[in-house]
C-alpha cells in the first residue's frame, strides 16, 4: 500500500508500529479555545497511553473534552500545551502537510454524522480516501468495492448516500476510514445517529474489522452499552481523565 502514497507520505516515512507496544503517548496535553473572557479550557493536562490493537472507549458528559481529545489524537488540531506521540513521533513537531499525510496513511475517521459526500456514490465516497494516494483508477475502484463488500454493501456501491439508510451510510464511512489500511480508527459517537439495533450492527462490524486487521480503535461515546464493548474505558470529566480502567 505505502508504495502508492504520494510525496508527503513518502517524506513522512511513517515507522511501522509492530515493534512498539504503545501507539499513543499523551503527556500533560492541554487544549484551550478562545482568548481572554471567552477562553475555554477543553483539556487540562491529560496523560494517557493507548496500546497497539487496543479497543478504547472514551466516555464522559458533554463538554468533558472527549471530542477534543479525539481531534488531537487524529492530528486534526494541535494541543495548546503538552505532547502527543504517535508511534513514538511527536505530532507537535510535524508540519501541516506531514499531519495530512499521517491522517491519510495511518488514521481512519468515523463521524457521528457520517460526513459522506452527498454527490458521490458509496463506491466513490470510499474512493475519495484513496484518490490522494495516486492509485490507478482500476485498482482504486476494485479496492473500494472490496471494502464495501467487507462491510456488507457490495450491492449498494452505486447508491448515493441519500439512497442509503443511516446504518448503511455509517458502514460506507467505516469502509472509507479503512481504505488506506490505517493503524488506528478514531470514531466519534459512531452509533449516535443510529437506532439501537443498527448501532449494535455497526459496533459489531467495527469489532470484527479491528480483530481482523489488528486495528487500534478509540471510540468516543455517551452510551454505556457501547463503552462496555471496549477493552478499556477512559472516563473524562472537566477536561481531565477521571478514570482509566480495563
Amino acid at each position: 500500500m505505502n508504495e502508492h502514497l504520494d510525496g508527503d507520505a513518502a517524506v513522512l516515512g511513517v515507522a511501522a508500529a509492530d515493534d512498539r507496544r504503545e501507539l499513543y503517548t499523551l503527556s500533560g496535553v492541554t487544549k484551550v479555545y478562545g482568548r481572554g473572557d471567552s477562553e475555554v479550557l477543553a483539556l487540562r493536562g491529560v496523560d494517557l497511553t493507548v496500546g497497539l490493537g487496543e479497543f478504547v472507549a472514551v466516555v464522559g458528559p458533554s463538554g468533558s473534552g472527549k471530542s477534543t481529545l479525539l481531534q488531537l489524537l487524529g492530528g486534526l488540531d494541535r494541543p495548546t500545551a503538552g505532547a502527543i506521540a504517535f508511534e513514538g513521533r511527536d505530532l507537535a513537531g510535524l508540519a501541516d502537510s506531514e499531519l495530512t499525510a499521517l491522517r491519510l496513511q495511518a488514521i481512519g475517521f468515523v463521524f457521528q454524522q457520517f460526513n459522506l459526500i452527498p454527490t458521490l456514490t458509496a463506491r466513490e465516497n470510499v474512493e475519495a480516501a484513496l484518490a490522494p494516494t495516486g492509485l490507478a483508477r482500476r485498482e482504486r475502484e476494485q479496492r473500494a468495492l472490496r471494502l464495501l463488500a467487507d462491510v456488507g454493501l457490495a450491492e449498494r456501491s452505486n447508491h448515493l448516500p441519500s439512497q442509503l439508510s443511516g446504518g448503511e451510510q455509517q458502514r460506507v464511512a467505516i469502509a472509507r476510514a479503512l481504505a488506506n489500511e490505517p493503524r488506528v480508527l478514531l470514531a466519534d459517537e459512531p452509533t449516535g445517529n443510529l437506532d439501537t439495533r443498527t448501532g449494535e450492527e455497526v459496533l459489531a462490524l467495527v469489532e470484527r474489522l479491528s480483530h481482523e486487521r489488528a486495528l487500534t480503535v478509540i471510540l468516543v461515546t455517551h452510551d454505556p452499552r457501547v463503552a462496555a464493548r471496549a477493552a478499556r474505558t477512559v472516563r473524562m470529566r472537566d477536561g481531565q481523565v477521571a478514570t482509566n480502567a480495563s
Binding site: N115, T119, L120, A129, N180
Partner: protein
Amino acid sequence: MFYVRYALAELRRRKARTLLTALVLATGVGLVVAVTALSRGLDEAQERVLEPLTGVGTDITVTRPLRLDSSSGGSGGPSQLSEVEQRRLEAENGDQRLGLTGLGQPGERFRRDRFLSAQLSYPENTAQAVAAIAGVQAVARELTLNVMRVSGTVPTASEQGGGVIRRGFGAGAGGGPPRTIAFTGFTVTGLDTANPALGLVTPSQVRKGRYFRGASPREALLADSYANRKKLAVGDKVKVGSRTFRIVGIVTSPLGGRGSDIYLPLAQLQGISGRKGRVNTLRVRAASADRVATVGSAIESKLDGAEVTTAADLAKRVSGSLVDARNLAHNLGVVLAVVAIASAFAIAVLLTLSGVNKRVRELGTLKAIGWPRRLLVRQVVGESLAQSALGGVVGAVLGIAAAALVAALAPDLTASTGRMQTAGSAGAAPPGPGPQFGPPGPFGQGAVAPLTRSVSLSAPVDPQLVALAVVLALAGGALAGIVGGNRAGRLRPAEALRSVE
C-alpha cells in the same frame, strides 16, 4: 477520472449556483463580444465612409493657410487677418478692384473673371523639395482658386458711382455695385496631370467621359453637382478666364465637399490666373503608412507656414450619427465592457466563496481523511473552471446573437462632413447649397457644400474574439477558483468538522 466526476457531480448538485455563476460570466463575456463586434462594425463603417477621402492615395495634404488674428471677432473675413497677412493676401491676389472703364460702351454686355486664392501659394519647385524628404514616395502639385465672375451691362455714367467695383474680400464702403452688374462664383482646381493618381480628383472618380489626356490640353472636368446645376455635359464647352475648355469628363465629388466645380490641367489654370509657377496645395504620398506622421512633421519644419493635413485629420472632421455611435462604442462601450467583465469576475469570486462556505464540512472532511491542500485548491479551481467554460460558451453565443441582431436590424448611420477647412480656409462658410461668393469669400472654398453619406451598420464577429472571450471567462473562473480554493485549503479541519451545514 475521480476528480472530474466529483467536480461534475458537485456542479450538478448545486445547479442553481452553477447556472448563476455561469450566467454572470456569460453576461460579461457576451457584452465584451457584442460591444467589440459593434465597435468593429462602426470602424468598418467609418472606413467605408472615409474611403473617398483617404482612398485617393493621398496621405498628406500641404497648404499654406492664412493666420487669423485671434484677438478680433468676425466670421473669418479678411478683417480677421493680421496686417502682415492682409498684405500677403493682397500680394497673392493683386488688386481686386474692377474698373468700369474699358469694359465697353455703356449698355454693352461684358464678363470678367477674377481669380482669388483662399490661401498663400508656394513656388512650384517646392514640390521637388518635399519630394526629397525621406519617406516621401510621390508629390503632386495643385492650385485651387475661387473665381469671381462679374458680368452684366456696362453702366451709364450716372450708374457708375465711383467707377470702381470691389467685391469679394476687402469690400469697402461705397454702396455696392450698379444694379446692371451681377456677381457669381465658382471654384476651379488645376490638377497635376503628371500624377493623375495623386490629386483632388483622380481618374477613378470620373463618372462620365474620361480623364485628361496629354500634359495641358484645353480640357476640363466638371463636378457632377456643378454640371447638373449648369446643365452642362461631356462635349460641351466652358469658359474660364480668357480661355474656353472642352468638357471631357464628369467627376463625382469626394465626401466632404473638398472638390471644386471645375478642374483644369495645372498649367492651364496657372496661365489664365496669372500664377505661372505657383501652386497652393501639395499632395504627398508617404512610402508607408507608418511614416506619415514623420513625413508630415518634416514638411512642416521645412516649409515656412505650411499646414499639414493627414488622412487621420480628415477622419476627425467627419460627424453625424456614425461618429456619435462610434464614439459611444469606443468610450462608453469599452467602459461598459470593462465594468461588466470586472463585475462578473467579482461576482464569480463571491459566489465561489459562498459555495466554499456552504461546503465547509464536506471540504473539512476531505482534509480530515488526508486530502492535501493543493488537491482541495485544484478541486475548487476545476469546478470553477468548468462553470466558467459554460459561462464563456453561453456568453459567446449571447454576444454573437447580439451582434447578429444588430446586423439583422442594420440601422443606417449617417456621416457628414461640413465645409472642409482646406487650403487655409479658417473661417466657416455660410450655410446653404450651391455656389456662393462674398464673405467670407476666400476663406472657404465657396462653391462646396457639405456632404452626408449613409451607411448600414454591421457587427462582424471575429472568431478570435470569441476565443478570447471564452479565455476571458476561463480567466474569471480561474480567479474565482483560486480565491475559493485557497479559502478551502486554509480550513482547519477541526473547525470545519464542527460547522453545521
